[in-house]
């Protein structure tokens, strides 16, 4: 039993912070594309006054809600768990809702483009179907051959830890669409599919690791990875993507999970 915390403590002065939030000016440049209007993409830019706590998503909303309603992008939860708003921000794949403006260089225009390697539908919206197709191909579900126990299957805390990192994936495609191999070869499974295969291959309850390793041993599988680490840097969930891919490669070579 942990001990009860004190009923009353002395708080440090200024604890919690808050109060007046500073404002600053930014220039937001957004890559626009709408085949209903033109086959050519172009840049639009807006000068905006934003708050110190604002994120890139807030700037996009400010544009959409106050300047140009036709600017199109996906978003939902707005705090980095739903995976809707992966985009290229100043040349790096990030979630718009997790990127604070104050952490960017606001002396220069902030460039926002759709993620690369997937067909652009309109502005920042891409066709996610090829991405989900790769995901589905690695059989992203638990396959267990034994008898189903009456209660839960047992799994030790250590066994659970073995694949913890790759359970964090939110399927935002930031990793896959940052991968230079994926840009040039759309057939490549891409990091996200391999991450999700890893999640099951190293789950002690799963019995289909060999099948998944066989799928990833394909010519469009893990061997395409050139270990550029773009994916690990891009992951908004901090998953060590390149490490997960290396572990899958190792497992294929040694056939040991």
């Amino acid at each position: 039993m942990e001990k009860e915390p004190a009923s009353k403590v002395e708080l440090a002065p200024g604890v919690g912070g808050g109060g007046e939030i500073p404002t600053f000016d930014i220039t937001l440049k957004v890559r626009r594309y709408n085949p209903e209007v033109s086959d050519e993409a172009h840049w639009d830019e807006w000068k905006l006054t934003m708050y110190g706590t604002d994120r890139v998503l807030d700037a996009l909303h400010k544009v959409k809600w106050e300047h140009d309603g036709s600017v199109s992008f996906r978003r939902s939860c707005a705090h980095g768990v739903c995976g809707s708003d992966a985009m290229r921000i100043n040349g790096r794949n990030r979630l718009a809702c997790k990127t604070l403006l104050k952490d960017l260089d606001t002396s220069k225009p902030i460039l926002v483009e759709p993620i690369k390697g997937l067909p652009v539908e309109k502005d920042l919206i891409v066709d996610m179907e090829p991405f989900f197709q790769s995901y589905r191909e690695i059989m992203p579900f638990l396959i267990s051959k034994g008898h189903e126990p009456a209660k839960e299957r047992l799994q030790s805390a250590e066994e659970r830890d073995r694949y913890d990192d790759t359970t964090k994936c939110i399927l935002c495609a930031a990793c896959t669409s940052s991968c230079p191999v994926f840009w040039t070869d759309g057939q490549y499974f891409g990091p996200a599919a391999i991450v999700n295969a890893h999640r099951f291959i190293f789950d002690s309850r799963d019995d289909a690791g060999d099948m998944r390793l066989e799928i990833l041993n394909d010519k469009e599988g893990v061997w395409r990875c050139r270990t550029t680490f773009n994916c690990s840097e891009a992951c908004p969930r901090g998953i060590q993507v390149t490490k997960a891919i290396s572990e899958v490669k190792q497992a294929i070579l040694t056939r040991k999970i």
Partner: protein, 592 residues
């Protein structure tokens, strides 16, 4: 217009919708329609856990869980539904484990469990470890696991198909020589966001699982997409909405932002302090303190701020203190939420308390159903073929205040029930002929939004709506504030008829989507406020300062809100009541 034909159509691909789809998809020809992608739904944002009396770490049983749920809901819970939920909770957790959900484990390898607000041992004696969890991303793991199993079972998804109308026809039925008119389901109308085309889905069964309405408030934990669409569609088609005055404010939203910090933080030992460093919950709930139910904690926090003991330069928040917990423990059990505090407020939870304030979180009310998840057209008439589950529904297991973790449980238990019942019905029933011109109302709705050139901005009206709801229909309410809210909502509705949607295209017209969503938000804000005005007592999440006591004599009833243009005093919302179902617990004073 394209027409599709399925036995079962499920509207929404969050936890409830996908849990239903896993059952229905294996038994009947099933389609899932979602305005997002399946893994984007807000189930994924749930953090703390899912309660079930597994008794893996200490003594527990489902009857205690039922009692806690009933008492937590301040006795407005339908007790037959609470029993079903608490009993089937155990199987629901085991189902998820078998589907592959990576629960945290005990040293023996069993599913680990932790404490959560309002969940107690032996009818309130002390907190109990009942919540099954996967770190502080249990909702994420549930959403992923359910999607994975939908992939396994080849469930058909129509992604970014926004359902805008429910098709029902009136049929004459004769039972025991008495002929009456009965509503029957024919299908739904949806708008394909990618192409801007309308698609009609003819179906024997329709399951609404489209989530909540948290975007009527400014400070909210809810996703941008939670705009009460499903509730709004049902309401416009004459289905009543139950208990809409009860909206939950989660105590620990990041101050000023509303982003949720799970109750699991308090389950793991974090406590709340005011500007004087005092653990103020000792005064409000002496037995279980910081683990009191959410309505009580949220009200206590708001009261501390009102009485001048708020922290910060504007004295407008309180502090969530984790500094007495081991950093390693925080990292193992609460990694995501401590990351939120760092990212969005720049606060280091290891060493500094985190500024928090209540944030709009969950609609206890919704489309009325019975325990088979069948939708009711009044107090007891079932609409054959129509089902609802999850936050969009009101079964009612949450009464006037939902306990933490019971929503993840609700979606799993009643999502499964809805999927099974919808498939079973579809296997015996015939298709109902879809009405002539099934899309006429939807086209009118879209054309009005597209062609109006009055110059009013959707975003501005929405902001004013959210401001007025935050100011007047929040934790504390009075007749005066509620009437003020209704007055403003009426003017906003009038301005809504004069909006201009700038995007005139068909392809991914999300500008138009937001305009349609605002229409639902306005309707729902009106229903919530009218219902709050009607309930002249304080119970659970609904606190009337002009009627601060619970009044069982006059208000131990559910409210049922009907669309009725003749009810002019309450902006076209007519309020009726529905009896609460009691099985084993008589109302008692609610103390913790």
């Amino acid at each position: 217009m394209q027409v599709h034909k399925y036995d079962v159509v499920i509207v929404g691909a969050g936890g409830a919708g996908m849990r239903a789809a896993i059952e229905s998809g294996q038994r009947a020809h099933t389609a899932v329609l979602t305005k997002l992608y399946p893994t984007r739904s807000h189930t994924g944002a749930a953090q703390g856990g899912m309660c079930a009396a597994l008794a893996n770490v200490e003594e527990d049983n489902w009857e205690w869980h039922t009692f806690d749920t009933v008492k937590g809901g301040d006795y407005l819970v339908d007790q037959d539904a609470a029993e079903v939920m608490a009993k089937e909770a155990i199987e629901a957790v085991l189902d998820l484990e078998k589907m592959g959900l990576p629960f945290n484990r005990t040293p023996e390898g069993r599913i680990d469990q932790r404490r959560f607000g309002g969940h107690t041992r032996d009818h309130g004696k002390a907190p109990v470890r009942r919540s099954c969890y996967a770190a502080d991303r249990t909702g994420h793991m549930i959403l992923q696991t359910l999607y994975q199993n939908c992939v396994k079972h080849n469930v058909e998804f129509y992604n970014e198909y926004y359902v805008l109308d429910l098709l029902m026809v009136d049929q004459e039925v004769t039972v025991d020589g008495v002929t009456r008119i009965q509503k029957r389901v024919a299908g739904v109308v949806s708008y394909d966001l990618a192409s801007g085309e309308l698609h009609v889905f003819q179906a024997k069964s329709v399951v609404f699982a489209s989530g909540g309405v948290g975007k009527v408030y400014k400070t909210t934990s809810n996703a941008h997409t939670l705009t009460g669409d499903g509730m709004g569609i049902a309401f416009r088609r004459g289905i009543p909405l139950e208990d809409m005055e009860f909206f939950q404010f989660h105590p620990t939203g990041l101050a000023g932002l509303g982003i949720l910090l799970s109750e699991a933080a308090r389950g793991e030992g974090a406590i709340l302090r005011n500007s004087e460093g005092e653990r103020f919950m000792e005064r409000y709930a002496p037995t279980i303190k910081d683990l009191a139910p959410r309505d009580i904690v949220a009200r206590s926090m708001a009261n501390e701020v009102r009485e001048g003991r708020g922290a910060g330069p504007n004295k407008d928040y309180v502090l969530l203190d984790l500094t007495h917990l081991e950093p390693a423990h925080i990292d193992a059990k609460l990694p995501d939420i401590t990351e939120f505090a760092r990212t969005y407020l720049g606060v280091e939870p290891y060493t500094e308390p985190v500024p928090v304030f209540p944030t709009a979180h969950y609609a206890m009310g919704g489309i009325p159903t019975n325990i088979k998840a069948e939708v009711l057209a009044d107090n007891d008439t079932v609409v054959p073929g129509l089902y609802a589950a999850g936050e969009v529904a009101c079964v009612s297991v949450h009464g006037s205040n939902r306990l933490g973790t019971n929503s993840l449980l609700d979606i799993n238990v009643f999502g499964k029930r809805a999927g099974l019942a919808a498939a079973e019905y579809a296997l015996t029933a015939d298709f109902v002929e879809i009405p002539e011109n099934p899309t006429v109302e939807t086209e009118e709705l879209l054309n009005r939004a597209r062609s109006s050139e009055g110059g009013e901005r959707v975003a501005l009206i929405r902001k004013e709506l959210q401001d007025v709801m935050d100011a007047n229909v929040q934790v504390f309410r009075t007749e005066e504030t509620l009437l003020e809210a209704l007055r403003v909502i009426d003017t906003l509705e009038e301005r809504y008829t004069r909006i201009t949607v700038q995007d005139k295209g068909k392809r991914f017209n999300l500008d138009l989507l937001e305009a349609v969503e605002l229409g639902f938000l306005l309707d729902m804000a009106k229903v919530m406020t009218a219902a709050a005005l009607h309930r002249k007592e304080s119970r659970g999440g609904h606190f009337r300062e002009d009627y601060p006591e619970r009044d069982d004599e006059n208000f131990m009833t559910h409210s049922m809100a009907y669309k009725d243009p003749s009810a002019t005093a309450t902006s076209g919302v007519r309020l009726e009541t529905k009896p609460v179902i009691f099985t084993r617990y008589q109302p008692m004073e609610r103390k913790y």
